[in-house]
């Protein structure tokens, strides 16, 4: 019984480890990074709006901090290509194809 259990676990482990070699599906949506940045921007701006509504921030400071958030996210947008080393060259190809389609 215990032998069977051990064999079963071994089979599960071997299957999980070799699974990616058999079923190769390694495409990542390159636009997801942009989406993440947009989400973060909206989240930070929402927090600032809430602080304005609850009276922690005044209008002047709220607008200053909002523009700072915009500025910070814009820098990250610019850096997206520079600081993200691609693991798979196929991703680069897909991204450039998508960009071509956009144009």
């Amino acid at each position: 019984m215990l032998y069977l259990l051990l064999i079963l676990i071994l089979i599960i482990c071997i299957f999980l480890v070799i699974y990616p070699f058999i079923f190769q599906n390694n495409l990542e949506d390159p636009l997801i990074r942009e989406l993440n940045l947009k989400t973060r921007k909206e989240k930070l701006l929402l927090e600032l709006d809430n602080e304005l509504a609850s009276g922690v921030l005044d209008k002047n400071l709220h607008s200053q901090l909002s523009s700072e958030v915009n500025q910070m996210i814009n820098i990250e947008f610019k850096n997206l290509d520079d600081i993200s080393p691609k693991i798979d060259p196929i991703e680069k190809l897909i991204k450039s194809k998508k960009n071509e389609n956009k144009k």
């Binding site: 259990l5 990074r33 927090e47 509504a53 400071l61 693991i87």
Partner: protein
């Protein structure tokens, strides 16, 4: 095949999976193979299955009292209450290592499973670092501390569980503390991976903060439960004695507290990047220091249950961790510079920085108290003991200053606060604090520090409540009932208001600390049956002393009746002093009558004869609130961790 051999084989399998994950991930990054990286990630997932079953094997061995396994023999017996089987599993070094390994595999599994796509580049490094950490623990078990080691001749009965561990608090205190210390590796690995990819900017910080909050709250609840356990069973007469084992749990928690605050500044304003890296490295190294002290370290403690001869192994790992952190920091320090600097002293970020400074100061004071006896012994050949008075006198004022910043901080805006705003925001809280201080100064004869401490608590609580009220009243525009806008305010900004609830829980703990430190009344006396002792508003009478003999222990139970000054019965209390001959150990349970105002706390310290005993009676004001702080702490953390609507929609 026996359960013990299955358990050990699974450990070896885990070891191989870890090795594959580490080497494969590094090769995968080098040759840019996503397939290999995914395979390594799956191998890391598999460790959850293998270690989970290994734990199940050990628990099964305890349930069936399989004394062929040395660990089961050493930590259980036929007479052991089956309810303590789970506690027995981690009662010693080998079992607790298995438990820690399992927790790391669970935490790694969920960290990788929910890893946001913005951290995809960091994933290979994350897999290899987490697997490396797990490899250490599994390696120690396989090579030096096998929990499945067997006897050739099977004994008929075991030694039994350590008596101090036979307490309800033990179901949660040690596992939470161990889990907290072990899972500091999660935010640490995330940060190191982000630094390796050169992407330690602002993306993925929500995930880092979420994992850090979880780890921090697990450690915090573990510490609080430990205090409760010490208060009720250890007979220390208190909840905290600055014991080395307590301190090594407290220090990483303090640094994690600093980290979860300063990571907010990085997320909001792109600042404190270098500082955050230093903090998480420090927390991780201190957690390894804790493992070292707990498992055969050179410092004597009254409750080092997992002590072993493996101290040098953990010391080696701690030194390795420190060197690793130093190298990572030195090689990457130019990539982690901040976008902004602190513009004004009167700003929220500045308050966070001061808060961090105080937390780090308390940590180093505690660390110094812990290692000073060692330094003194090695370099001056003098045996020195550093006790509670040192910690209380040095840490006390710093903690008070920290609480003061907790009261001022929420009144400050990000970037810069105008003097006018500051005056408006602080006027009411400061006035309330000053009024309370004057009243206390006039009406009580206690030290000035007690009045000052309570006034600071007033400052903090009034700041929180005023901001809460102001915020919710602003949201009542358009006829929305106040209580709806109150909850809406929390829901709109869970991070912030969850944090405030946690602050309230800290205040409740502080209230208990102030009560016991400044307002405690204590009597140490010999009492005979029928004799009464007057203390505060109580009269405590010893009614009887009973003796109970069991196979594994001798129990002496003292029964007390408690009446008020008018001789009206308040309660009947029992305390006991139990001796366990096979462990040569006594366990004292205090008799406690608790209410929100004060605890009547009786320690049956020594039984002189069948009718006479020595007791320590104390009245501990406000301690009840300390334990109420626990559930509020959990509530606040849960609110902070609750996902935002915006993210859910995305």
């Amino acid at each position: 095949m026996t359960v013990s051999s299955l358990g050990f084989t699974l450990l070896i399998l885990t070891l191989n999976l870890c090795l594959y994950s580490i080497i494969g991930s590094l090769i995968g990054v080098r040759v840019s193979s996503n397939i290999l990286l995914k395979s390594c990630k799956n191998a890391s997932y598999c460790t959850l299955i293998t270690l989970g079953l290994s734990v199940a094997c050990l628990v099964y061995a305890f349930v069936t009292r399989d004394f062929s396994i040395k660990y089961v023999f050493n930590h259980s017996s036929l007479s052991m209450n089956p309810i303590y089987t789970w506690v027995a599993m981690y009662a010693g070094n080998e079992g607790s290592l298995l438990y820690i390994g399992f927790i790391i595999s669970v935490a790694s599994f969920f960290t990788l499973l929910f890893l946001p796509s913005e951290l995809n580049d960091a994933e290979p490094y994350l897999v290899s670092i987490l697997s490396g950490f797990l490899l250490f623990f599994v390696g120690v078990m396989v090579l030096l501390a096998n929990p499945f080691e067997t006897f050739e001749n099977i004994p008929k009965d075991g030694r039994g569980i350590n008596p101090l561990l036979a307490h309800p608090g033990m179901f949660s205190h040690p596992p939470l503390l161990m889990a907290g210390l072990a899972t500091i590796s999660i935010p640490f690995s995330l940060i190191v991976s982000m630094v390796f990819t050169g992407k330690f900017r602002n993306d993925g910080l929500d995930y880092v903060r979420t994992t850090s909050l979880l780890v921090w709250s697990i450690l915090g609840v573990g510490l609080l439960l430990g205090s409760w356990w010490a208060y009720t069973i250890l007979g220390w007469g208190g909840y905290w004695v600055w014991d080395p084992i307590e301190n090594v749990g407290l220090m990483p928690w303090l640094i994690m507290t600093a980290f979860i605050h300063s990571i907010i500044v990085q997320r909001r304003r792109g600042m404190f990047r270098v500082w955050n890296v230093i903090l998480i490295f420090l927390a991780f190294v201190l957690a390894q220091f804790g493992m070292f002290i707990n498992r055969g370290g050179p410092v004597v403690s009254v409750h080092s249950f997992a002590a072993s001869t493996l101290g040098y192994v953990f010391l080696g790992f701690m030194i390795f961790s420190a060197i690793f952190c130093l190298i990572v920091f030195m090689l990457n320090s130019n990539k982690i510079k901040s976008d902004n600097n602190v513009k004004s002293f009167l700003s929220r970020e500045s308050a966070f920085l001061i808060n961090n400074f105080f937390l780090v100061a308390i940590t180093f004071v505690t660390l110094w108290g812990l290692i000073f006896p060692l330094i003194s012994e090695v370099f001056a050949n003098e045996t020195v003991t550093v006790g509670a008075p040192y910690y209380n006198s040095v840490n006390g004022p710093v903690i008070l200053a920290l609480l003061f910043v907790m009261g001022i901080g929420p009144n400050l805006s990000w970037r810069k606060t105008s003097n006018k705003n500051l005056k408006t925001n602080l006027l009411l809280p400061v006035s309330l604090a000053v009024i309370l201080f004057i009243i206390l100064l006039i009406t009580t004869s206690r030290p000035i520090m007690s009045s000052l401490s309570l006034s600071v608590l007033m400052l903090v609580i009034s700041t929180i409540l005023i901001e809460w009220l102001k915020g919710s009243f602003r949201l009542t525009k358009g006829g929305v009932p106040w209580f709806i806008s109150f909850f809406k305010l929390i829901l709109n900004n869970k991070n912030k208001y969850g944090g405030y609830i946690v602050h309230i829980s800290i205040l409740l703990v502080a209230l208990g600390v102030i009560g016991i430190n400044f307002y405690q009344i204590k009597v140490d006396k010999v009492i005979s049956i029928g004799e009464k002792i007057d203390i505060g508003n109580y009269k405590v009478e010893l009614i009887e002393i009973r003796n109970n003999e069991f196979n594994d222990r001798r129990e002496k139970i003292a029964t007390f009746s408690v009446t008020n000054k008018e001789d009206e019965l308040i309660s009947i209390m029992e305390g006991n002093n139990t001796f366990y001959p096979s462990f040569n150990m006594a366990s004292i349970r205090a008799a406690i009558n608790s209410n929100p105002v004060e605890d009547l706390y009786v320690i049956p310290s020594d039984f002189i004869s069948e009718s006479k005993m020595k007791i320590i009676i104390s009245i501990n004001p406000l301690v009840w609130w300390m334990w109420i702080g626990g559930p509020i702490f959990i509530l606040g953390t849960l609110i902070s961790l609750w996902p935002n609507k915006l993210l859910k929609e995305k």
